[in-house]
């Protein structure tokens, strides 16, 4: 049984699987099969397969597609968009997929476009991913030559063009409606909902936006079926997933593993455990905008709802570990600086609240903080709770802060009482020495 559908074409060398290698290894079979199916059946199949969005929200992909208006009266033009704006701190899974096996994504997009009736598709890719972008462009050319894309695919009336759009660079573009605005050439700010993109998205037309990894799941799910796909997962969730580990482990990286693989197995077996002399202190399970989990949670399986119940989020599934020699305040400060900088500036609590949180964290980290600052920081996190802000950026930014304040409370207090960072050698606020 195939257990590594996402990475089966990915070898040791940093090269993209070309279309010949891809097709020799059962590539585009899913697309051929899908094309012989009714679009509604594909949507049902994906829904039944239990594929959940790999971008972080974990919404059922087939269900998302089913909201697109279909039938005669629906708008003729629809769009599929691949969200390849991978900017979550600690995440690098989409990059791996796009750089090494671009055809898998293209095949997934082709099936998605066919299922919802879109003839145009965009890959909205992070600007810094130039290698991935050029490999995708090359792959699109190859796919067109093999008539997997273009006009009248498989001699049918179905046509599809895929364009690679390099993002100008903004974390908020990972939010699907801000992505749509950016793609239209507008300011990258999230849109008001309703209307949802499935009804009125790019240029006001029905649009499905899916994450790279989500789309890469589609070809094999269609080709090998729901049963196979469900059996890939160890626990509640179906399929496999690219899990990654960054931080001070022996073997940082990303691996395709079954959904529900326990955190401990990922860190200790695949990432080789902590570097010598370091202890695991906590971890961010799914990127910079997820709550810290403690060492008590190491045996939890990486399933959406399990991690959710533990008080965090699966997010991107790329784990960042915190060791006992790294300052948690500095880590949180670094993350908060990122989110404050990446705020789109639309709503007040995010735009003006996050820079304030940065200022407070800077004070604490530099030893100038007070106990009132800890209270204020907690209050800041409550202010940017979900629903209080326009989109999920600020609530996400609050997650590492609020959980660090609980899990690493003593560290925060030590900063205040010592009037300095106990981990001073690694302080992020230490000015960089300017080289002459």
């Amino acid at each position: 049984m195939l257990t590594n559908p996402l990475t089966k074409n990915i070898g040791q060398d940093n090269v993209a699987a070309d279309i010949n290698r891809y097709m020799d290894n059962d590539g585009y079979r899913g697309w051929r099969k899908a094309h012989s199916m009714a679009p509604d059946d594909i949507i049902e199949l994906v829904k039944d397969g239990g594929l959940r969005g790999r971008g972080g929200a974990g919404f059922n992909t087939g269900l998302k597609w089913s909201f697109v208006p279909r039938g005669e009266d629906s708008p003729k033009q629809k769009y599929v968009i691949c969200n390849a704006d991978e900017m979550e701190p600690g995440a690098f899974k989409d990059r791996l997929l796009m750089e090494r096996d671009p055809h898998l994504l293209i095949e997934g997009m082709a099936i998605t476009a066919y299922a919802i009736g879109a003839s145009q598709a965009y890959i909205f890719i992070r600007g810094e991913y130039h290698l991935a972008a050029s490999r995708l462009e090359q792959a699109i050319v190859e796919a067109k030559q093999q008539k997997m894309l273009g006009t009248n695919i498989f001699d049918s009336s179905f046509s599809l063009d895929i364009y690679v759009h390099r993002s100008a660079g903004n974390y908020i573009c990972g939010e699907e409606t801000a992505l749509l605005n950016a793609l239209e050439g507008k300011r990258a700010i999230p849109r008001a909902k309703p209307p949802f993109p499935q009804v009125s998205g790019l240029w006001g037309k029905p649009t499905v936006v899916n994450n790279v990894e989500t789309l890469c799941n589609i070809p094999h799910l269609v080709n090998l079926g729901v049963e196979w796909y469900k059996n890939l997962g160890l626990g509640e969730d179906a399929g496999s997933k690219i899990f990654g580990v960054s931080g001070k482990v022996k073997n940082p990286g990303a691996w395709e593993l079954p959904m529900g693989t326990p955190i401990r197995e990922i860190i200790e077996k695949h990432a080789g455990g902590m570097k010598d002399g370091l202890q695991l202190k906590g971890l961010l399970p799914g990127g910079g905008s997820t709550d810290f989990l403690s060492t008590d949670h190491l045996d939890l399986p990486m399933d959406y709802d399990v991690i959710g119940k533990a008080g965090s989020r699966m997010g991107t599934g790329t784990i960042t570990v915190l060791d006992d020699k790294t300052c948690p305040v500095g880590l949180v400060l670094n993350l908060t600086q990122f989110f404050a900088r990446e705020s789109c500036g639309w709503c007040t609590p995010c735009r003006d609240g996050l820079p304030w949180a940065v200022k407070i964290l800077e004070r604490i980290e530099s030893g100038n903080g007070s106990t009132e600052d800890l209270e204020l920081l907690k209050e800041q996190c409550e202010r940017i709770a979900p629903g209080h802000t326009f989109c999920a950026l600020a609530p996400g930014a609050a997650e590492p802060i609020q959980s660090a304040l609980v899990l690493f409370e003593q560290d925060f207090i030590n900063h205040v009482t010592m009037g300095a960072c106990p981990y001073h050698s690694i302080s992020t606020t230490t000015p960089l020495t300017k080289h002459p």
């Binding site: 903004n170 300011r187 404050a340 705020s343 500036g345 200022k359 209080h388």
Partner: protein
């Protein structure tokens, strides 16, 4: 009607609104920033948070943004819950991390929405210890000051400027807490509605630079309801005036919007807002002037032009009384020339003073014909003159030959909203409420058809679905063809080229299928057939649809349609007077009394020469020195709109009264008062002169006029007379907080002078009296406790965006219903090449700044008026060997005029666009359209260099 519960009280409310609007309509104080009554909700500021409960058992509820929440029947909400209050306080606290504490030196202070909301939200102690973000400000032109450090990033400025008004050059730039609202580079804001930024901005980022030159706080301004005199739309304004210590007399300091549901809503154009400064200009007449009889040794003045000296008013009044007496004795003729920019009352006074047979409208023949036709059209019951909200609701707008952005600016803003109606329909089909502004705007729907046929259209090109740039006579022919296609009549179709005919047929089809079409035309093109064809289209449609069709006709000046009511049929025009004078045997001496009119904008130089040569005395009553004043023997200083009470009739036939905001400087008084004074000193009195001499209150004149002109009978009901009181009190012009009245003249005397008494209106020139606008439509100081900014207007509306509770201003004049008779069809198009007068046809084009007489003399506004120019298209330019920017001479029948030649992509072939009324080109105004040749005088220096290199 849904019932909702807010903080334990039950309310019945209209279901199609959001919770914030509902709360405000109920009079509850919910703070907000980004929501705007005319622009809807976007959920950016998070200031209007309240709590929503699932059901009566729900103890905690959920924090929601009231502006983004549709009210639902049975909904339970709390505005005053501690959680909601804390959150709202935290939003202010966040905003205040960067907002400077410069209120004492900020011109928004005292009418700052941010101050109000900060007070309301209860944020007092500063906990933020960091530095504040700072910006570099930009020069945005002479009207608007930019102070970005004060910005709280509510996005209202670009939502108004870009989304609502279509301006492209002000943008949100950058991101995170460094979003910058500005231009790519410094420079004057291009959009003619930029002044609204001052009112839309909740704090002091955008402030009024003209106000800044003589700034006082809002609470120190006295105000009264007024009507804008800079075009015929009739926008309601609240001018603000205050005396200053050094200068005894009050000074008009600014104009702000005064909400009128059917006309201007929340917005004014920049001509209306910044045009007021003419009142304080150097050319303002504030003394009685008399022509000097002493020999002038050397003068640059032309022949006929007089130099003036000031004389005691009584001397002048006696001189006028003497002429009146002579006229009564029958050995002198008094001739009166009225004005479309003077009030009904002033025109009426002059008509009575000189006698109907000696009274002329002050409008030339061509404009009289146009206005009489418009008046007749509006009397047809198949025609409806639409209000601004009705234009905004149109699903098709057809504009014939009227560059509304420049001739009736506020209407072009309404047309811009109409362009979004298909988008709104799509929103409705997706069940997205229309107040969800960002949601609606992101819908892609083709815009509603906005069709323009005419010579020039400014600022609306991005919303028009079809534009045909053709000369007026062709516009008329196409219009006629459209009417014929609508009514399926066959005649005339073959008079058009096949392409135009096809266009006409297509437009006719669109009109036939539209539910609420609005047709717009007017006097701008100066073409009677064009206006007639617009009416024909409306009537054909009306017969097809069996309902009245909206036709908005622009009349040009503030009281054009008003003064038209004094005459039945095409009479009273200026050329008629010229003809009379030409035929006159010269038996009697004649005195010409000119009322608030610069005849050089209305008559050809030849006619003017006859006019001035045929009369022995010329008396002028006017506000500003102008060309006409140079010929006057006696000049009386008269009050401007803000200094007087009177009535204007707007484009739609709505008569509106404006009130004295402050008393004018020097010897300034209303024209009718000068005439009445002369009548007092005249010993030989007829009954009419007796009546004139007895007028002492403006309502006396208004009532006499209402009796005299049947269509204007409603004007006596426009407002209460001077004796009206509310609980024994007048309406206060000054705010309750008006300061310094005992100190302002302390360097001269410490006693407080009694305030002037207003003989015309039941309003005081002091802070004593009624302050609540809910109790009277006369209160223009929009203020409510805790709501010091103009945002407080909702407290005085029946509901948010509804009529003012104090009553709307204006009543429609009662014209006799008469069906419009079909005119002979429009003449064929004249081919410039074959025309009797060789050359190119000169067509009037308009500019928001430059085409209107009074605002042209406003100090700041005058700095942005273009230098004389002429536009022509590329083909005609090539034929005349002209390049863009060349200095040219326009050789017209009335003389030679100089200016730059501008190549325009849209100027119809065979025509030259001549900016109407532009300083330097006023003399051409009377002769547009006409014929002329363009001759190159000097090559444009830059193009010459380019061609050399």
């Amino acid at each position: 009607m849904p019932t909702i519960t807010i903080d334990g009280s039950k309310y019945q409310i209209d279901g199609d609104q959001n919770l914030l609007t509902a709360c405000l309509s109920l009079g509850l104080n919910v703070p907000y920033f980004c929501w705007h009554p005319a622009m809807g909700s976007v959920g950016a500021c998070r200031q209007c948070a309240v709590i929503e409960y699932k059901d009566s058992g729900d103890q905690h509820g959920r924090l929601i943004m009231s502006c983004m929440t549709p009210v639902k029947n049975g909904g339970i909400y709390s505005v005053n819950s501690e959680t909601a209050k804390d959150f709202r306080g935290s939003v202010i606290e966040d905003l205040m991390t960067n907002h400077p504490h410069d209120c004492p030196v900020c011109e928004e202070g005292g009418e700052c929405h941010l101050q109000d909301m900060t007070e309301m939200s209860g944020h007092t102690m500063r906990r933020y210890q960091g530095t504040k973000r700072t910006y570099r400000n930009q020069y945005l032109g002479p009207f608007i000051n930019h102070e970005m450090n004060r910005c709280i990033t509510c996005y209202r400025c670009i939502r108004f400027y870009h989304d609502y008004a279509g301006g492209e050059d002000l943008q949100a730039l950058g991101r995170n807490h460094q979003v910058f609202f500005g231009r790519n580079q410094e420079g004057m804001l291009e959009n003619g509605f930029s002044g609204n930024l001052v009112e839309v901005c909740p704090t002091g980022v955008f402030t009024d630079k003209t106000f800044s030159q003589h700034f006082v706080r809002k609470w120190d301004l006295q105000t009264a309801p007024s009507v804008c005199e800079h075009c015929a739309v009739g926008c309601n304004t609240a001018p603000g005036a205050r005396e200053s210590g050094s200068q005894q007399n009050p000074l008009l300091r600014r104009v702000v919007n005064f909400y009128h549901h059917d006309i201007n809503g929340y917005f004014l154009c920049d001509r209306g807002r910044f045009g007021y400064e003419y009142v304080n200009s150097k050319s303002r007449i504030d003394k009685v002037l008399s022509a000097r009889e002493d020999a002038v040794i050397s003068s640059t003045a032309d022949e006929d032009e007089r130099l003036h000296k000031d004389i005691p008013p009584k001397e002048a009044v006696l001189a006028l009384a003497d002429k009146l007496a002579q006229a009564q004795r029958g050995n002198h003729r008094l001739i009166g020339i009225g004005s479309p920019r003077a009030s009904l009352e002033n025109n009426f006074a002059l008509q009575q003073f000189v006698g109907c047979e000696n009274f002329f409208s002050g409008i030339n023949k061509r404009d009289t014909q146009l206005l009489q036709l418009i008046n007749t059209i509006q009397c047809d019951k198949r025609i409806h003159s639409p209000t601004t909200p009705e234009i905004e609701d149109a699903d098709l707008v057809l504009i014939l030959g009227e560059d509304i952005y420049n001739t009736a600016p506020r209407i072009s803003l309404a047309v811009r909203q109409a362009a979004r109606n298909r988008q709104k329909q799509q929103a409705e089909s997706l069940r997205i409420p229309l107040w969800q502004d960002a949601s609606v705007r992101q819908l892609e729907g083709e815009s509603s058809p906005i069709i323009f046929i005419g010579a020039e259209l400014n600022q609306l090109s991005d919303v028009t679905s079809k534009t045909l740039f053709v000369r007026p006579e062709k516009t008329a022919l196409i219009g006629e063809a459209i009417a014929n296609y609508v009514s399926s009549a066959e005649d005339n179709k073959n008079r058009l080229d096949p392409d135009s005919s096809q266009q006409a047929e297509h437009i006719a089809q669109l009109l036939a299928t539209a539910k609420n079409p609005v047709i717009i035309s007017g006097t701008g093109s100066k073409d009677i057939h064009l206006i007639h064809s617009a009416a024909e289209i409306a009537i054909s449609l009306s017969e097809k649809k069996e309902t009245a069709i909206s036709l908005y006709l622009c009349c040009g000046e503030a009281n054009s349609l008003g003064v038209t009511q004094f005459f039945s049929g095409e009479c009273g025009y200026l050329e008629k007077l010229i003809t009379e004078l030409r035929e006159d045997k010269g038996e009697n001496d004649k005195t010409l009394i000119i009322l608030e009119n610069n005849l050089f904008r209305r008559l050809s130089s030849e006619d003017l020469h006859v006019l001035f040569a045929s009369v022995e005395h010329i008396i002028l009553l006017d506000t500003l020195l102008n060309e006409t004043a140079k010929h006057a023997d006696l000049i009386f200083p008269v009050s401007a709109t803000a200094e007087s009470q009177g009535t204007f009739v707007n484009n739609t036939g709505l008569a509106q009264r404006f009130y004295t905001v402050y008393e004018g400087t020097g010897f300034i008084q209303e024209s009718w008062r000068w005439l009445s004074d002369a009548a007092v000193y005249c010993k030989e009195r007829t009954e009419t002169i007796e009546a004139i001499s007895n007028w002492s209150h403006c309502p006396d004149v208004t009532e006499a006029l209402a009796e005299s002109v049947p269509s204007l009978s409603v004007i006596k009901q426009l407002g209460p007379d001077e004796n009206f009181r509310i609980e024994g009190l007048k309406v206060a012009r000054q705010s309750a907080r008006y300061s310094g009245r005992t100190a302002i003249h302390a360097e001269e005397h410490v006693s407080e002078a009694p305030p002037p008494q207003d003989p015309d209106a039941p309003m005081s020139f002091s802070m004593e009296g009624i302050h609540n606008p809910n109790r009277t439509s006369l209160q223009a100081n929009i203020w409510s406790p805790g709501w010091n900014s103009n945002q407080s207007i909702f407290k005085f509306q029946q509901e948010v965006g509804g009529e003012r509770r104090g009553g709307a201003s204006g009543m429609t004049i009662q014209r006799k219903e008469t069906p419009l008779s079909r005119r002979p069809s429009a003449p064929n198009i004249t081919d410039p090449a074959k025309s009797a007068s060789p050359g190119l046809q000169t067509l009037p084009i308009y500019r928001m700044f430059g085409s209107e007489e009074l605002s042209n003399q406003s100090m700041t506004l005058s700095t942005v008026i273009d230098n004389p120019f002429f536009t022509l298209n590329e083909v005609d330019a090539k034929r005349a060997d002209l390049d863009h920017g060349d200095f040219v001479a326009l050789d017209a029948t009335c003389g030679i005029f100089h200016g730059r030649a501008f190549i325009s992509g849209t100027q119809p072939a065979g025509s030259i666009g001549v900016p109407f009324g532009l300083p330097g080109l006023e003399g051409l105004a009377a002769e547009l359209p006409g014929w002329a040749n363009l001759l190159q005088v000097e090559k444009n220096a830059t193009t010459e260099q380019e061609s050399q290199s």
